[in-house]
Each structure stands twice: as structure tokens, then as C-alpha cells.
Amino acid sequence: MSAQGAVIVLCCLLVVGVLVVMLSSIAGRLDRLHIRLATTHASLNRQLIDRAAATADVAHSGALDSACSVLLLAAADTARHATTQAAQRGDVWGRDDVESALSVDLRAVLGRPDAVAAAWHSKTARPLLVELAESCDRVRLARRFHDDLTARTAAVRRQRLVRLLHLAGHAAWPVVVELDDEPPAALLVAADHAGPMPPAT
């Protein structure tokens, strides 16, 4: 009788042990996902700030006509201003429209080969144009990686066990970033074929 009781107790302990290991591994997995989500979010933020600055540099370089320069400078400034305001509000995001508008303006100014070729004439502007192209590409990549990770994290968090046992803790529900990040095509092609540039000074 006591032997039977011991077996039952042992079995129960085993089941509890397996459950604990399983749940803690899911919690650990979720924790890692959230850490990386924060990293990709920070990266996207950084790339957007970089892009606004690189846009302003190109606008100042004298390689574009004055209308294009004014347009880009205004768009870059709006994006930068929105970033500052969002940071002051303690808001992580909330500037998608402004960043999308910058993408639209960049495509309007530097999306066509003839426009890029004209700007390319200026030797001093060339490294700045390459830097701008690369920062546009990095924005697109960073957003893709962020949204991909968001989807994967959300999939884990939707699992019934995770929801029921509150395994994600107080982490905010992951949200994808919706914005137009399509880079100016002609600028990207020109920069790619220019090869590595010396760092902009």
C-alpha cells in the first residue's frame, strides 16, 4: 500500500517537474523574443533618424536644384521634429505618416535615373548620396526584420497556454510598424554600382 502511494507521489512529482521545465522554457523563449524585438525596434528608430539626417545632408550639398533641396529639407525636418516630439511624449512610435511622407518625397526627387545622374555630377555630393541610399535601404531592412519578429512573437503569445498562465508577463503586445519605406530605386542602383565610398566628412 505504502509502496503504491510512493509510486503515485513520484509520478505526480515527475509530471509537475516536466510541466515546470516546459513552461519555463516557453517563458525563456518569449523573454528572448521580446529582448530581440526591443533591439530591432531601436534599430528601426536609429535608421529612421539616420535617414532624416542623410536627407538633410544631401539637401545641403548643392547637388540638387533649389526646389528639390527645399522639399527634402522640409520633409527631413518634419521627420526629425516628429521623432523629438514622440520621445518627449514618451511615445515609442506615432510618426509613421511623417516617415512615409519622407519616403514619398525621396522617391519624387531621386527615384528616376536622370535626376540621380544630374545630382551625381557633384563629386562632393556623391558620398552623401551613397550614404542616403544606404540609409534608405537600412530603413527598409530594419522594418522588415522588426515586423517579421513581431509576427513570430505574436504567434507564440497567442498560444493558449501562454495566455492562460500569463507567461509573457507585462510585456506590451507586439505591434507591426506600418509605413511606406520603399527607397528611391534609381538612387539605390547608382549607389550600389558606385562601390564602397570613403566615409562622408
Binding site: T39, D50, A56
Partner: protein, 397 residues
């Protein structure tokens, strides 16, 4: 920035992934990026200083072919030690779904991970379907996924889900563009070249050999040169048994050194890629295009992508010798068509040059790690000046 690149296959055995890793590391170093490569080796061969080797590869059957991989407790220890000593900013693993060093590195990674998926596999790969759930938690650690072609991306998505970017394999275009044509391989009636494993059925040599007698009817002075790894005697036997005219016009060279194969491609009037199996990328097509040959290839999706759906090289229905013969007839008869294709191809291959490809991969590292090229302090200074200067736009003269 310091990048650690992990290769899953024996580094001292020839292979596409190994070559990619080797050339990527060099191209990144040329851009001032610090690189450390971790790779298994079969024997104690000398490797460049930035390559850390893991001895003791095991030849195993995995996913339909024999691969030389590295795994087990001592490999795990070596991966851990490498990561602890290198203080990386980004880890770049290749083929993380292959049970070797890449997968081990992935499990131990603390820094942002970039992964490149090379292989394109059939949709009904049962082995992959079985291991996918086991791999998923490890693959979840990847921040940025790169596929070398659309086919590789489709394979990745089907088995592991998630999004990725396509960045093709790189190539040193100048090496092929500078290769000299060899008179000993040229022919008045046109020189046609096959380059690839001669004895692997999916490389499609038999499709080309079946079409060849038809070509000879129309172009008796044409010549077919077959090169690549495999049993020369056995291929020669197949050619000779096809009769006198075929035997006279077909030459079997067998394996060639890298420089010779570039010369052979530079000599070719037409390069034929009759592959029948699932190819992921088609590096050899890009090499032929860079060397200036006009290309005729089977219409596998990877090949169609590289050839711009027929604009940079002609396509024929996969495995169809009649269609191959018809396409080859056109190319041999019309030098104008050949030169138009070669011109277009020379423009297309520029985007496969390492100078472009390494830059694109570097931007993936930067996007994954949250860094940019320009020093962040300098950047933030520029940023604060944006709003002040909005009124004073520099007007070009």
C-alpha cells in the same frame, strides 16, 4: 564592426557555400569590417588568419546527398570558445538548418543573428518536414534572414515561415571579364560549352548529348566541349557510342582549374545549362555571363530569374532536347542575337559583383545590429542642425 561568419560545411572541400563564405569574408575585410570565420575542416590544411577551424568532420547523408559536417560535444565547446573570445557585434550563420556548426552557433548566440539560406529544396522533402519543428526554436533566434534566390526564399518560408530578403551570391566579375579566350577551344562553326558535374543526372548533360546530333545536321563545324568533375572515360564512352560525327565534334575535358574554366567560358560562343533538377541559384550562369558567353539554359525558376526571363540569355523547356536544339540553332546561326544577349548580360552581372553584394549584406548587418556607417555622435550633431538650417538652402550655381 566585428562579424563572425559560420560555415557548416568542410572548408577545405570545394562547394558553393564555402566559396561564398570565403569571398564574402574577403570583400567585407576590403570594406574595413573585422571578420572571423568559423568552419570545420577535413584535414589540417593552412587557412587564412581570420579563419578559425574545427577539425573532425563526419561525412553523413543529409537531405539526399553526402555532406561533411561537424557536430558533437567537442564542436559545441569549440563554438562556445570562439564566441567568447571574438566579442562579435553580429553573428552571420550560413545554412542554419543543416545539423552542423551554424546550428550550434545559433543556439549559443547572444548578439543579433543574420542567417543566409542557400538551398532550394523540393516541396516534398520529408526529412525537412520532420526536423522543422525541432529546428524552429533555434531558428527563432535569427533576426535577419537572407535567401540567395527566390527559390531559396520559397523553400525557407515553406519549412520555417517568416520573412526574408533576397540577396544573390556574389562573384568577382573582373576575374571572368578579364579571362582570355583560348584558340584551342574555339571553333569556326561555333563553340558550345557545358560546365558542371558530368555524372550528376540533374546537371542534364544527357539532354544536351541527345540534342547534339540535331545540331550537327545544321552546323557540321560546331564543337561541343564538356568540362567539370566526373569520370572522363565514362562520358567519353557515351560520346563515342553515338557515332563518328558526334565523337569527332565532342571533346571531354573533365575537371578544370578555376582559371581554365574562366578561359573556357570566355572562349564559348554559347554556354548551355541543361539542368533538370531544382537549382537554387545558378552561379555558373552568372560566371558565363561575366565571361561574355551567351547563355542557353533550361527554364528553371532560378535560371529564369538570373537571365531576366530570357532578356539576358535564352531559355528552353527543362529536359526537352528538341527545344534545346532549336534554341541552340538560333544562337549559332545569328551572331547578332548572341552579341545582343551578351551585351545585356554584361550589364546584368554587375549587380552580382562582390562590390555590390557585400555592401547589401553589410547593410543587413547594420539594420540587424542597429548601427549605421557614420559615427553616431557626428550623426546626432548633423541631425540637430536640420531644423535650424531649413531657411538657408544652398542653391547650386
Amino acid at each position: 564592426m566585428k562579424v563572425g561568419i559560420v560555415c557548416p560545411y568542410a572548408f577545405d572541400v570545394p562547394g558553393g557555400v564555402q566559396q561564398h563564405v570565403r569571398e564574402l569574408a574577403e570583400a567585407l575585410q576590403g570594406r574595413g569590417v573585422q571578420v572571423s570565420v568559423l568552419a570545420p575542416v577535413e584535414s589540417a590544411t593552412s587557412q587564412p588568419a581570420h579563419v578559425v577551424t574545427v577539425p573532425g568532420v563526419v561525412p553523413v547523408a543529409y537531405n539526399g546527398s553526402v555532406a561533411r559536417l561537424s557536430f558533437g560535444p567537442s564542436s559545441v565547446r569549440r563554438v562556445r570558445r570562439w564566441m567568447a573570445t571574438e566579442s562579435l557585434d553580429v553573428l552571420h550563420v550560413h545554412e542554419p538548418a543543416v545539423p552542423s556548426l551554424s546550428l550550434l552557433a545559433l543556439r549559443a548566440a547572444e548578439v543579433p543573428v543574420v542567417a543566409t539560406f542557400h538551398a532550394a529544396m523540393a516541396s516534398n522533402s520529408r526529412a525537412l518536414a520532420v526536423v522543422a519543428p525541432v529546428l524552429r526554436p533555434a531558428l527563432e533566434r535569427i533576426t535577419a534572414r537572407i535567401a540567395v534566390s527566390r527559390s531559396a526564399l520559397v523553400t525557407m518560408r515553406r519549412h520555417f515561415g517568416g520573412a526574408g530578403v533576397v540577396i544573390p551570391n556574389g562573384l568577382q566579375v573582373s576575374r571572368f571579364a578579364a579571362a582570355q579566350a583560348q584558340p584551342r577551344w574555339s571553333a569556326d562553326g561555333g563553340s558550345v560549352v557545358f560546365l558542371g558535374r558530368m555524372d550528376e543526372p540533374r546537371k542534364g548533360l544527357s539532354v544536351l548529348l541527345e540534342a547534339w546530333p540535331r545540331i550537327l545536321n545544321r552546323h557540321p563545324a560546331a564543337r561541343l566541349i564538356i568540362a567539370g568533375p566526373g569520370d572522363v572515360q565514362q562520358v567519353r564512352g557515351r560520346v563515342d557510342s553515338a557515332g563518328g560525327a558526334v565523337a569527332r565534334t565532342v571533346e571531354v575535358l573533365g575537371p578544370l582549374a578555376a582559371r581554365d574554366s574562366a578561359s573556357l567560358l570566355a572562349t564559348a560562343d554559347v554556354f548551355v545549362a541543361p539542368h533538370t533538377g531544382s537549382e537554387s541559384f545558378g552561379m555558373v550562369l552568372v560566371e558565363a555571363m561575366a565571361a561574355g558567353a551567351s547563355v542557353l539554359a533550361s527554364d528553371l525558376s532560378a535560371f529564369a530569374d538570373v537571365l531576366e526571363h530570357g532578356a539576358a540569355g535564352r531559355l528552353f523547356p527543362t529536359g526537352d532536347p528538341t527545344a534545346l536544339a532549336a534554341g541552340l540553332d538560333v544562337l549559332l546561326s545569328e551572331p547578332a542575337v548572341r552579341s545582343a544577349l551578351a551585351r545585356r548580360a554584361a550589364g546584368e552581372v554587375r549587380s552580382y559583383d562582390w562590390s555590390v553584394v557585400a555592401g547589401r549584406i553589410l547593410r543587413v548587418y547594420e539594420a540587424a545590429a542597429g548601427s549605421g556607417r557614420v559615427d553616431s555622435r557626428q550623426r546626432s550633431l548633423t541631425t540637430t542642425s536640420v531644423s535650424r538650417d531649413v531657411g538657408s538652402v544652398v542653391v547650386p550655381p
